[in-house]
Symmetry: C2
Subunit: 245 residues, 2 copies
């Protein structure tokens, strides 16, 4: 059976438009490389009930769920507490996390305060996910991976997450760039998609100085189908007199 996943971006700053999310595209690419498909992303506010409901809906529908954001030391960081409630467990002081955090602050000559200690409050039964940068760990509980929101920290944590995930054939992508708007080649794409049902052919127009070009994306697990479909589309596009690159 296919391994599937969903991402939950927990953060008022993304919903307000203040911050541009960068984590979805990072995680999506890394999951595709190990054959895990991403079925859905939800961006939700820092509200406990919303986090609980969203985690519980998505973890039933998917093999894995990844959350980002809300595991820092401030009052608006409520992810760990909400996940504990979603999983029906308690939030406890995790000794290993506490040691990592207190060693870190000692190493930079600073005191541990109650807010920094809060980052060691982890749902009971969770497995820690290391953070080489600021040491406050993420965690995994059941099929939910709870990660930082700051992109650099998330990326560091994700290298540890990857070690725990099952690997299968990557979801491959090949792109054909056509120097014309998509409405002139829509018939070609429809015919070739009909022939290669084991891959997805997507058509994405983008603006240039001279009008619109189109990126045609061939995506799927069958490299053979991707190659074949790519060549057939390219040949038909050339036959119509349009350039590709």
């Amino acid at each position: 059976m296919e391994t599937t996943s969903a991402i939950i971006i927990i953060g008022n700053e993304i919903l307000s438009g203040k911050t541009q999310d960068k984590n979805v595209s990072f995680i999506a690419k890394r999951l595709a490389a190990i054959g895990i498909s991403l079925t859905e992303v939800r961006i939700i506010p820092d509200i406990e009930d919303v986090i609980i409901d969203t985690v519980n809906i998505l973890r039933k529908k998917n093999t894995f769920v990844f959350t980002t954001g809300g595991i820092g030391p401030t009052h608006d960081d409520i992810t760990a507490k909400s996940i504990a409630k979603a999983i029906n467990t308690e939030l406890c002081l995790n000794k290993e996390a506490h040691k990592q955090i207190s060693d870190f602050y000692k190493s930079i000559g600073e005191e541990l305060n109650i807010y920094r200690e809060r980052m060691a409050m982890i749902p009971k039964g969770a497995e820690l996910i290391d953070n080489d940068l600021t040491k406050a760990p993420g965690f995994r509980i059941e099929n939910v991976f709870v990660l930082a929101g700051v992109p650099k920290i998330l990326e560091n944590m994700f290298s540890y997450v990857e070690q725990k995930l099952p690997k299968s054939d990557p979801i491959c992508t090949k792109i054909l760039d056509v120097s014309i708007g998509e409405s002139k080649i829509a018939g070609i794409l429809e015919d070739i998609q009909e022939k290669f049902k084991d891959i997805d052919i997507g058509s994405y127009p983008y603006e240039t100085d001279f009008g619109y070009n189109t990126e045609i994306v061939f995506k799927g697990k069958s490299k053979l189908s991707i190659e074949e479909a790519y060549i057939q589309v390219r040949n038909l596009v050339h036959k119509k007199g349009f350039d590709t690159k």
Copy 2:
């Protein structure tokens, strides 16, 4: 009662990590400016059943729903058809849309083909949303606004959408930038949040060449509370000996 909204980003290209979404942050800011709160964003694939379910869930929970993507001329553009099914209506050739599209292609000396004509297939009962750039319109049906995925076209369409939306006091934001990591000022933020319950105080660390700084975001409809809370946090931060800007 508060006016709420949700965004549905329809697009395999975002879920695969190939394309970085830019529409969420654009729409979010414009909604905040007219006092409409954004409760949730979902990024979903180009799959009919998923689009239908997502639209129906979110349009019941929110005053308005905005979808982006999937209204072009190619085989993977299935948004209009899916919305028609969600709303329990039919997809029909919209005469006004057809005229706009055929006039546009005539004006650039090109033929209308069946794929271009498809963009005039609009759910029965929908109101068109103009597109000054490529003319293929978006539409509104009931409380759902269906918009293009290409950011420039979406932005153009949104200027027409705004005219149809109710306006109330903007959701304001004020940012205080503190030259220190958030764990040193977490207590201040917690105390002040406790005092000003009508606004949200968010804390967002970001990396600099010398460690981490923190952006403190004061957000809400009460300008007075935002100003007061901002001044109190700033004074307490200065008292601790940290800089702000």
